[in-house]
């Protein structure tokens, strides 16, 4: 689906460069179009709210919008980079003069402002509200390059005045505004108060002397932007940067020369930390400052640790806003910083970073190791940083189209991330060794969990190479290469690391013993998943059963529930590979029967037709999505599920089909629905997709044509994705043969008196011993009213077992009557707390004398589930009859 989407986006990008010429020639008409645009403003507003929900769609939808509107608004909304790129392209192609992006923006700004002024003239507040919103958006983009433009300041100041005026007028005049107008006014009122505070200084300056302000030079105006700490233009900042490198001095935005010295470093840091999270702090700028701090100053380990910690957090803050993921370079830098932080910590053994350590009062003097203590404790949490790094990678993977090479490039970063996690793990192990530090077990567990999360879903067996533990092995090897030779992990000794199975086992066992709650459950699930992935069906199933997770899973968080679902599916697939059709179907039923596989496995967002989803929910849903490389192939899953359902359902259908009164037992509703739909079709063409194949195979199987069914199933292409495709196909062929035989017997038994085993055996190409075993089984389970004749090697079908309608109704009635009595007895027993032993007649009842009574004694747990077996030959109830009894 994502690909689908993406394709649309791509093509529009391609076409955009062609359209470039159109834009440029139309540049002159821009003003005119801007007015058109205001009419389409509402529309674009709606679309914009969509945009906010997903940054990834933003660019594509922007571009689509652009095409729609012939260019004008396109420039407003597309972001910097693409803009500039296109700029260059158009430079090459176009001959007409081109304005710079900034200038264009300014033009836009101007037009918006004039719209607002128009609105003021005619007192149209809804228009003003819209335009004001637009204005604010535009100005944000402009600010990226420079400070707030003066025309903007003028506009908002004027607007505020006008608003106050209108409000005052409102109070006096009794005449009401119309509803839309009033709403618009309110919206503007609220927003403008908040907004104008930010620019208060500029506005004041403007109010004081409007003309002077408008004419004043940029350089003078800039410092007045008090809360904005910004470099003026990229070029300037680059120059400054160079200067910094040479002379170790830099100039802050107020023009003061800032000297970074080892003494003042912590002061700077403090200032940065304090401004963190506040509005309008330029994080990029802060990061730059800290980078210099880190690079330049010969500092103590303590300072270094502090700087790195703050730096990494600051980098993460960049990605904090809503759905936007962290920029790639920042991620890489954060990863490097984290690595160097760990390096320092490894080197300087007397400095430790622990959670809950006290803050040092480091303004005046550097903290030193206190008397009588071994360590200098620095507050912070390495594990949180690592977790954050991991999360950011996942987020960026979610956003990237998985079918591009970019995705693969990004995926390679997982290796270095894994290394970081591993080093973090080593570090925590080291900390744990010293009991005096009181490092909580939880941190260690968390970091191990992260490590486990990165390995559990990786197949250790790539068939092509016949080399076990391929992927994980490579990961591990690299990780070990990184750390110094003498370092060894206690939990996962080096010698064990080569084997993925062992590694997973060690990690999850450790977590299971040393943690609780969610981490424990997750560890368990990861292990089960891994086992199932590697065809250890029984082990994984037993673990799954002993974990008792199916009872408690509803209490866990959604991510764990998703993992549980994934595990369940993987166990089901594993059962299928083992040829255990029944188990596979049972296991997969819960996920695949729901029809919401995508959602349950977090592999795509479902479009919900009837329920309202708030954008908030949608965003959360998107965040939960798994990156593509962790996906379980849904088509394969469906194929397996349907095939299993077919093998179980078709004989059942044949069995119940003949007698109309039997309550229909349904194994898979989804399958039944599909089958019914398929049967309703008047013309059926050759099968196209997996579903068609299975449906046609079902039809063939129901008609006893097992060979055809096998062909259909075998021609499904997706089996190739399974390891050992041939084995699976043979297994399926065998199953189809057997089920075909059963179906045949069920369907055609009424039309035969006797059937030779040899005939059946040649018909289904099965061993005659196998045939008689299958028939025996059916007779014994009372599915078939027949008996074997050993002498002539035939099946003799008994006649007269078909019930008339009256007869079967009578049976049902008697069944219901006896179950009524039982219910009454049970109710009374409950009421009297079992003290009335009047009905426990179990002892005074003869063994097999009364078949009907026997059930009462057992509390009627299974009403009529098994026809009573009495001594002698009365054990037989015919096939159809047996089912009628079963009701």
């Amino acid at each position: 689906m994502s690909r689908f989407f993406r394709d649309g986006g791509d093509s529009s990008t391609d076409s955009s460069s062609e359209e470039e010429e159109v834009y440029t020639s139309e540049e002159e008409e821009e003003k005119v179009q801007a007015e058109d645009e205001s009419s389409s403003e509402e529309e674009s507003d709606e679309e914009e709210s969509d945009e906010e929900s997903s940054s990834d769609e933003e660019s594509s939808s922007d571009e689509e919008e652009g095409t729609k509107k012939k260019g004008a608004s396109r420039f407003l909304q597309s972001d910097d980079e693409s803009e500039e790129e296109e700029e260059e392209q158009s430079d090459d192609e176009a001959t007409t003069k081109v304005k710079s992006a900034k200038d264009k923006r300014f033009d836009e700004l101007e037009s918006t402002i004039s719209q607002i002024q128009n609105g003021q003239k005619i007192n149209d507040w809804s228009l003003i509200a819209n335009e004001f919103d637009k204005l604010n958006r535009q100005v944000v983009k402009l600010q990226d390059g420079s400070k707030a433009p003066k025309s903007y300041i003028k506009a908002i100041a004027d607007l505020e005045d006008f608003m106050n005026e209108t409000l005052a007028k409102q109070k006096v005049t009794p005449k009401k505004m119309n509803a839309t107008n009033a709403r618009g006014l309110n919206a503007v009122k609220q927003r403008i108060r908040k907004n104008n505070k930010e620019y208060q200084a500029q506005i004041d300056a403007y109010r004081k002397d409007a003309d002077a302000f408008m004419e004043s030079d940029d350089e003078v105006a800039a410092p007045k932007v008090v809360s904005k700490v910004r470099f003026e233009a990229p070029v300037v900042s680059a120059e400054q940067q160079e200067e910094d490198d040479k002379g170790f001095s830099t100039v802050d935005s107020r023009g003061k020369v800032v000297q970074y010295t080892p003494e003042s470093i912590l002061k700077h840091l403090r200032a940065i930390i304090e401004s963190r999270g506040k509005k309008n702090t330029d994080r990029l700028e802060q990061i730059k400052v800290m980078e210099t701090l880190n690079k330049v100053v010969p500092i103590t380990p303590y300072q270094k640790i502090r700087v790195l910690q703050t730096l990494i957090s600051a980098r993460f803050d960049l990605g904090a806003g809503g759905a936007a993921q962290m920029p790639l370079d920042q991620w890489k830098a954060a990863e490097r910083d984290l690595a160097s932080l760990l390096e320092i910590l490894e080197k300087e053994k007397d400095h430790v970073v622990v959670e809950g350590a006290e803050e040092w009062d480091d303004d005046d003097k550097l903290p030193t190791i206190p008397e009588g203590e071994k360590y200098l404790k620095v507050p912070g949490s390495v594990v949180s940083l690592i977790e954050r790094l991991d999360d950011e990678l996942t987020r960026s993977l979610q956003a990237i189209d998985p079918h591009t090479s970019e995705y693969i490039d990004r995926l390679t970063d997982e290796g270095s991330l894994y290394n970081t996690i591993f080093r973090g793990l080593l570090y925590y192990e080291h900390l744990r060794k010293d009991a005096s530090l009181e490092v909580p077990q939880e941190s260690l567990s968390r970091i191990i969990q992260r490590r486990l999360d990165h390995v559990y879903y990786k197949p250790s067996l790539l068939i092509i190479f016949f080399q076990p533990a391929q992927v994980v092995k490579i990961l591990e090897e690299n990780a070990w290469k990184q750390v110094s030779a003498e370092a060894d992990s206690e939990i996962t000794p080096r010698s064990q690391s080569g084997d993925a199975g062992k590694l997973i086992n060690i990690l999850s066992n450790y977590l299971f013993e040393n943690s609780e709650g969610i981490i424990r459950a997750r560890a368990m699930l990861c292990q089960i998943y891994f086992l199932a992935l590697h065809d250890e069906y029984y082990k994984s199933r037993d673990l799954m059963l002993t974990s008792h997770l199916q009872e408690t899973i509803a209490n866990f968080d959604i991510a764990t529930q998703i993992l549980y679902n994934r595990t369940l599916v993987q166990v089901g697939l594993c059962a299928f590979r083992k040829g255990l059709v029944y188990d596979a179907q049972n296991t997969l039923q819960e996920i695949c029967g729901s029809g919401r596989q995508k959602e349950l496995l977090a592999q795509g967002v479902m479009i919900q037709r009837y329920s309202q989803v708030t954008p908030e929910q949608e965003r959360l849903e998107k965040q939960r999505q798994l990156p593509f490389h962790m996906h379980i192939n849904l088509e394969l899953l469906e194929c397996v599920y349907l095939t299993c359902s077919m093998l179980l359902e078709i004989p059942l259908l044949a069995q119940t089909g003949s007698s109309p009164d039997v309550k229909k037992r349904i194994i898979s509703k989804t399958y039944r629905r599909m089958l019914e739909y398929h049967e309703r079709q008047i013309f059926t063409g050759p099968p196209e997709n997996t579903r068609d194949h299975v449906m046609q195979a079902s039809k063939a199987l129901a008609a006893g044509e097992w060979k055809k069914a096998t062909d259909f199933i075998h021609s499904i292409k997706i089996w190739d994705l399974m390891p050992n495709t041939e084995g699976i196909k043979t297994m399926l062929a065998k199953q189809i043969q057997e089920e075909g035989l059963r179906t045949y017997l069920f369907t055609y038994a009424p039309f035969y008196d006797t059937l030779a085993i040899a005939t059946l055996s040649s018909m289904f190409e099965l061993d005659s011993r196998k045939v008689s075993a299958v028939v025996s089984k059916m007779i014994s389970h009372e599915e078939l009213a027949a008996a074997l004749d050993q002498v002539t090697e035939t099946v003799i079908f008994r006649k007269g077992v078909e019930l008339s309608r009256l007869q079967s109704l009578a049976l049902t009635l008697s069944d219901k009557a006896s179950s009524l009595i039982e219910t009454n007895e049970r109710t009374l027993e409950q009421k009297t707390q079992g003290s009335a032993n009047a009905f426990s007649r179990k002892d005074n009842r003869g063994g097999g004398q009364r078949g009907g009574g026997q059930r009462g004694g057992r509390g009627g747990a299974r009403t009529g589930g098994n026809p009573q077996r009495q001594a002698g030959g009365t054990q037989f109830t015919g096939g159809a009859l047996g089912n009628a009894v079963r009701g």
Partner: protein
Amino acid sequence: MASTSPATTNGDVAPANYDLVLKLAPHLDRHMIFPLLEFNAGRLKEDETDKAREILAAKYALLKKTNMTDYVANLYCELEGLKEPPAEYAERRQKVFHQLEKYEQETAKITELLQRDDVVNNLRSDKVANLEFLKKEHDVTIDMVNALYDFGQLQYSCGNYADASELLYRFRVLSTDNDKVSYATWGRLACEILTMNWESAMEELQKVRESIDTRLANNPLAQLQHRTELVHWALFPLFNYDKAREPLLDLFFNAGFINTIQANSPWILRYLTVAVITNRGRAKNAGVHQKQMKDVVRIVKQEAYEYQDPITRFVHALCIDFDFEEAQQQLVLAEEVLRSDFFLLAHADDFVDSARHLIFESYCKIHARISLKDLSARLGLNNDDAEKWIVNLIRDTRLDAKIDYKEGTVVMNHPPSSVYQQVIERTKGGFFRTQVLTAAVAR
């Protein structure tokens, strides 16, 4: 307990693969493993001296840590080929004697008290009050009570099971320490088993079971382990004491225990299967037996991936695959295995007979006409015997079958039960039950 040597496998090729001693041993007490080893040694042929020696070594390793010094010394001599045991054994023997004496003195008073009628008559069911009473009247301290326990342990370790049992019994009457009481109960169970005092063993077993169910309810892992041990220990009474059979089968089929068997010790399935199959004639209630049989089949099927031996395979072939030839083959193997199993030796014939019944029963159920010759082969009997056997069977079980001598076939008659009959049967008890119901409501 786990110190048994790994060299306990014996010589025969086929059954050796199914020898369970190694699997059973970790869950048994060393005193209980001893008879198993003894049995294995007894089955060796003359020329297998290597094996005999291995078993001897195993025995030695097993008993080294007990206080049965004389016997251990003898074993050591035999193993090393010495005439006189080394001096350290004499030393140890002395030490043990000293200890015995010491404990005897410590417990003399309380033992004497407990034998006096006037004291015993004053004891109530309240343990705390009892202890108070003894403290007040007779200066009994809690240490003296605990000495009883230690003494019992020492006696047990020396092989004086009867004495140990008595001591532990007394301890249990007086002690208020719940943990020690439960240990003492286990100890008594072991003593009773080893003295083959089955009735009281069954009593103790019941007590242990109760304590597992109640005391360990909060600790599933310990519960599992204790249940595993109990199941293993229960094998002794199960196959040696007929009256224990039904209650023990009930115990084994209890949900907690059956799960234990499935999860922790699937090899017990062999014993369970044999017990159920041989129980078929004896069971008072045919319904219960049928249910147990069904359960066994289900579990055998479930556990097939984890545990298989000829006995479970026989069940699998007969009741799940309906492959009679395979079942027949497995039965032959199973008999061999049974004859080489400590617990099952005495039941081999019984099992084979019951298994034949089982085969015949399901065979008849499925077939309408069977050739006599074929059937006799299937049952592992010759023609005349088979005929006799079938005639007996038909007479005993009122099987609806006839022998056609001329054709040499057995003809089954499976009359389809008529619908009317079914309706009648189902509604038969209704009136009576409703009457009972109204009577109960009226009360």
